[in-house]
Amino acid sequence: MVEVSLSAFAFLFSELVQYNQTQVDNIAELERRLEDAGYAVGARVLELFCHREKGNRRETRLLGILSFVHTTVWKVLFGKVADSLEKGTEHEDEYMISEKELLVNRFISIPKDMGTFNCGAFVAGIVRGVLDNAGFPSVVTAHFVPMEGQQRPRTTILIKFADEVSHMMSLLNIY
């Protein structure tokens, strides 16, 4: 596997965030733009993976695609499987991928005046890019979640599938 230093990536990512800060008026827009940048990465990752694994059938099951994101995509991009993949407790159509420390957040401290902003929006975009292009449109967001006994909050990527996906799945009863 070809590698670059984590620092090279971190400086590039930091500059991506800084550039986008100059293009927006508020934090919601910044989140959206980082998510858009991530979306492009996610779409490409799926494309590359399908290209490499030619012959493999395309993932059509919801849990299949989620585990693909949690395992394969995470491994390729971040060098490890995500810490956890859970089903939302409140809603049927919600799933959560959590990471104690998201790679993109490794060196980043969010200023107090930015509230709950999380640069993981970029990763949320990656996830949405993969899911959308695999035929599972969804809304994906990144959140800091405080952990008991931990100094730092973890990041949870919240995936809410579009109504049509939930509808289709319930019809087929193949959750």
């Binding site: 620092s7 971190a10 930091s14 060196f107 980043i108 401290s109």
Partner: protein
């Protein structure tokens, strides 16, 4: 036990961009720390001019009766210095660790503006760990 009293970081124009107290006998107020930083910046520069040897890059260690001051200046002009108990060891190593933490948790933070005061939670966190480790290391000898 070797004690680090406080840590200063000065940008290349002599402005204090970081100050942390690790338990000095008398806490310094903001004005004092700013004054001390700019004074040290000048003294450091003057020492280069006064030095009889060619290629001197300024004072690295200042020893007084009741404290030592260790200074490290990066090639880019940022100065890091710790004030510590007289005779405290390994301060050069500590300054190197601090410089590395600065490159990680300050310079790679998109919300940090160059040359401005450092307010980065992760930097504080790793810094206290490093200073703490220094203490543990010395205790363990």
């Amino acid at each position: 036990m070797a004690t680090v009293y406080n840590l200063f970081i000065i940008n290349k124009s002599g402005g204090l961009i970081f100050y942390k107290d690790y338990g000095s006998a008398e806490r310094m107020d903001t004005n004092d720390s700013l004054r001390l930083a700019s004074l040290w910046h000048s003294m450091h520069a003057i020492s280069q001019q006064l030095s009889p040897t060619i290629g001197c890059f300024g004072i690295e260690l200042l020893q007084a009766d009741n404290f030592d001051l260790h200074c490290f200046q990066s090639l880019t002009g940022t100065k890091f210095f710790v004030v510590c108990e007289p005779g405290a060891q390994h301060m050069e190593g500590l300054l190197k660790v601090i410089y590395e933490l600065y490159t990680d948790f300050v310079l790679k933070n998109p919300f940090y503006e160059m040359e401005m005061p450092i307010r980065c939670e992760l930097f504080d966190l790793h810094l206290s760990q490093a200073v703490q480790k220094e203490r543990v290391f010395i205790l363990g000898r």
